[in-house]
Structure formats: C-alpha cells, structure tokens
Symmetry: C2
Subunit: 336 residues, 2 copies
C-alpha cells in the first residue's frame, strides 16, 4: 500500500526529483529524451502522482463540492450525474453531500467542504431565510447556486425561469377551461418555490381567478409528502378542477392518493407537475409538466463556477433558462 513517490523514481532514474516532476507534469524545461526515459521508469514502478501533495503547493485541489437536498428526487440525481460527468471532463472531481432538506446541515456540510479545500461549491439550496450565515461561507469559496436568487444575494446562479414556468402552467390550465386551480406545494422558503408560487399567483390575478394554495408543512418535495397532503385534501369536498404541483414528485404522490381515493386523472381532476423528471413520461404516469433543461443547467453551472475560480474578481453572472410546456395526458379540457 506504500506508494512510490517522485524521490523513488528519481533515485532509479538517477536524476533529481525536480526533474521527474517536470517530466510527469509536462514542463517544457526538460529534454524530450530524458522525459521519455523517466516516464518509462514511472510506468515500470507504477508511479501515481500524489494529488494531495500537489494541492498543497498549487493551492487548489481540482475538487468541486456539491450540496444537494436529496438524491431520491430524480431531477436532482440526474442533475448530479450530469454535473459530475461534465466536471470530470474538465478536470474536476465532485464531492457530493446531501443536505437532506435540513438548513443547519446544509451550512454544516458547506463549511466541511471548505475545510476540504474544494475549489468551488455548487449548491441547490433548500431555503432562503438565514442567508447571513451563508454569506460568510460563500465569501470563502467561489459558489454557484442552482436556484434563482434575488438582488439581495447576488451570487452566481443558474436556474430555469421558475416564475415564468408556473405562469405557463397556469395559463395552460386556464386555456383548458379551468377556473379553479389548486396550487399544491411543499413548504419551502427557497426562492425557487417562492417564485413558482408567485408565478401562479400572478397568472391568477391576470386571468381573474381566485388562487387556492395548499402547502405542506414539510419542505421536502417528495412523493410521500404529496401523497399525505393529497390524502387529506381528497377526503373533503372540493371545488377545484385542477391541481398544479410545484414538483413532479409531489404530483406523483398526489396521483397515488387520487388513485386510492377513487379519483381519476384527468377525468375527475386535472394534474400538472414541474420539473419533467423522466418518470413523468411513463404512459401510466403521463404527467403534463414544465420542463427544466437539466443538462444545460449542469453544464452552465460548472462553466460559471470554473470561470469564477479562474478569475475571482470577474463580475458575477446569472443565467435564467427558459422553461417549456410538456403536454401529456394528465389534464383535460373542461370547456362546457
């Protein structure tokens, strides 16, 4: 398990270990001949450069931290995969941490990642409230958020246009004839979910509908949360003809509860989600939803972060990507 170091190969090659370093790191100040000779010896001895030691002196680790609320939500796990692959192709590895939708834990793993000397952090924040403590952290390391943030927190971020996305959803349901639309969301104080709600509310106002909002006490956008909340809702008389969920996972939970309550979708009630996770495309789910350009979010987030790492003084940029309607079979027209 004791690995071979520069000094070891230097001894064998009968050169100083600085020369070996230059050979392996591709420095120009070395002759092609000795480079080939040394690299051959490296192979033979099974030398692997110690990136920890390299990080010490170069003062960068080529490691990125990723803080994500959960990997059980396919939107986030697929995003994580895209981030990892893209980052690795650009020479960076990803240290992944679950915040488990816990605000304190989120901050805790953030400083843990800083202690790990990551070169940058990508974070999907769970909420928005106590971000004074977060600022103290983002000052220490380049950070990009996958979330929308307002002027009061002008860090780098990339996101789908949540506000517009939910407007599109609301307008779509309106165009189908729905006039009583229930907005169904997790209790998250994140900007992302705040803007989605605002988009719904603004469209309601514009279209002259009275909004109905039902929010869970949990901040987690999971199937279980949607299921539990919808179970209650369906047990009582209702007037809404459509349910607009702030996430596909919630919608899937709602659908499950509807199924068990004998309520058919879209016959008895229309259902929409947001995110367009891959499972929503299943014929049995067939959920009309708003698409997030996951891959583009991932590549942009990494690009923005690397730019910021290379030039910390550069101006912060934000990127809002356009959402799009994915029309499937979970909504029906209720025109008379």
């Amino acid at each position: 398990m004791a690995s071979v170091t520069l000094k070891d190969v230097a001894k064998v090659a009968d050169v100083s270990y600085a020369t070996v370093s230059r050979a392996v790191s591709g420095s120009p100040e070395i002759s092609e001949e000795t480079r080939r000779r040394i690299l051959k010896i490296c192979k033979e001895m099974g030398y692997t450069p110690n990136s920890i030691a390299r990080s010490m002196v170069k003062r960068c680790t080529n490691i990125l931290g990723l803080i994500v609320p959960s990997l059980n939500n396919p939107f986030m796990s697929e995003l994580t995969a895209d981030l990892e692959i893209y980052a690795r192709n650009r020479g960076y590895n990803l240290m992944v941490c679950n915040s488990s939708y816990d605000h304190d834990l989120e901050l805790e793993v953030f400083s843990l990642l800083i202690g790990r000397q990551v070169d940058g952090v990508i974070m999907i924040p769970v909420g928005h409230e106590p971000y004074e403590s977060l600022s103290a952290l983002t000052k220490q390391v380049p950070t990009v958020f996958i979330s929308e943030n307002m002027q009061d927190y002008p860090e780098n971020y990339v996101s789908v246009d949540n506000y517009r996305g939910m407007q599109i959803a609301t307008e779509y349901l309106f165009s189908l004839g729905h006039r009583d639309i229930l907005y169904f969301g997790a209790r998250s104080n994140s900007k992302t979910h705040e803007l989605r709600l605002d988009g719904y509310l603004s469209s309601c106002e514009k279209l002259g509908m009275t909004p109905h909002v039902l929010r869970s006490t949990y901040s987690r956008s999971s199937r279980e949360v949607g299921y539990a909340l919808a179970g209650e809702y369906f047990s009582q008389p209702r007037q809404e003809t459509a349910i607009l969920c702030s996430a596909d996972m919630l919608a899937i939970g709602v659908k499950q509860a509807a199924y068990e309550a004998g309520i058919r979708i879209p016959k008895d009630v229309s259902l929409m989600g947001f995110d367009n996770i891959s499972f929503s495309a299943l014929p049995e789910i067939d959920l009309t939803t708003i698409n997030q350009p996951t891959q583009q979010i991932a590549t942009s987030a990494v690009d923005m972060l690397l730019d910021h790492i290379r030039d910390p003084e550069a101006e912060r940029t934000n990127l809002i990507l356009p959402p799009s309607l994915i029309e499937r079979k979970s909504c029906r027209s209720v025109r008379a």
Copy 2:
C-alpha cells in the same frame, strides 16, 4: 480568499503553532486554560483547519471514492444517498464518479480516485470480464464491491443474494401457474446479472420449465433499453405468459412498450422486476418485484470498508443479504 493558518493564530496567541495544533486537534498534552484561550482566538480569526495539509502528514484523507454505473437508476441514486450520509456520519466524505456503464471508464476513474488518495473505494461494477486490470487497482487501495463476486476475486463485497432472489421470483411465477416465463435481461457480464440469470435457469430446471431468455445488446439496465427490447418482442407472436426482468427499470420500460402495443399487464402478460425501487410501489406501476435491502447494503459496505482501512491485514469478509418478494399487482394467476 487567503485563509488563516495555524501560524497566524499562533502569532496572535503568542504560542508555537504546535500548541495551536494541539488545541484544535484535541490533544491531551495541553492545559485546559490555553486550549480555551486558543480556541477563542481561532473563532475570532475564522480559522479552518486545512485538511489537505493534515492529509499530507497523516497519510489519510478521510475521503471515500464511489464508482457507480449511473445515477439515473433510482436504485443506485438512493443507494448513493444512503452511502454518503452514513459515511459522512462516520467522518468520511464521498467522491462520486459515474462509470456510465463503460468498462474502460470504470477503470479510468478508479485510478483517478487512487491518485486522489482516497482511503477506500466502493464500487458497483458494470461487468466482470477483464478484472486482471482491476486487481492491479484494488491492490493499491481498500475496496468493497456492491456486487457478488466469485472465488476468483475474493475481495470484500456486499450484495443481496441475487441467485436466490431470482429463484424466489421464478418460483413465485410458477406457483401462479406460469409455465412459460421469459427472462428479460440487459447484456451485462456482471456477476450480479449472471447470478440472477443462473437463479432463473436453476429454478426452471428444478421446476421442469424450458427457459426462454432475451437479452439486450446494451449493458445498461434502463427504461429505454427495456422499452426498445420489449418493443421488438411484442411485435411478434409469443407464447410466454410472464416476463421476468433482471431489474425494475427494465420492467418499467417493458410496461411502457406493452402499453403502447395494447398489451395489458397483468391481464395479457404478467411482469416482474428486481430491485424494488420506490417507483415500483406507485399504484400505476404496481410492480411485483424482489426487494434489495438498500439501506443495509449501504451501511454494511461502509462498515466493511472502514474496517478494512483500519486493518488492511484483516481477513476479507463478504456479506450476502436475503432478498424478499414484494407482491403487488403486476402478476396474475393463470391456473386453469
């Protein structure tokens, strides 16, 4: 961005930096009084220990590598989440790498992780064939596989009992009256999938059924692969009354193809999966399957790896966990 080091706080506290180190690392050879004084100064100056430097001298990083074929499969992403959380609670961070079901890439990221000086590697292997090259890597760092491996590769591993699991599935379908069962698998040469197939074959022999096997040319157990392969299959006349898939994701793809071909499940054909991903519990999917004890796999894998790290000479242990049948509504009895 320039962080404060031991020397900086030593200067302020007017002690040697060794003393500061002892204060923060909880060494006993320091008085309680100076410890408190130094820790207070650390807080004030915002000192965060540099774990890179610590890793240099302690010769361990407290980082674990995870190599996973894909995060798009909920079985793997949920497993990843469990691994990360459990490992973090034991003081280790996770560096996650996708192998994308690519054998060469798998080996490439493995050596990349070794260069990163990870203390151990957890790997869900994509295949089994060219494992001479893998041995060269596992010799360099403690490794545990989440997969079954045979005597020819006696590394640490933890897995559900794939062979028995598929026997249970086959026997279950038999007990329902099925005599023509199609085994539907991805072309994976991993031990995991090999054993699942073997379990099916052995049960067929024991129960006097002639096996029918259909395998994809892709090694990826994805919805798309299941969909494509089943599309072909359903376009031709068939005699089988049940389809047994080597993974839930495949079964979900099969179900989608069946839906589009107008074939109803379980009325026209019964369907079974393997893994018990959370989506299989949805009423619209409602897939009868074999459960993997994900959480236990995750904790055991981490425990085994940490044991191995602490005592590299210790004997390798393997853990085979019992599978269990999850009976849902995707299979029907065909007794006359």
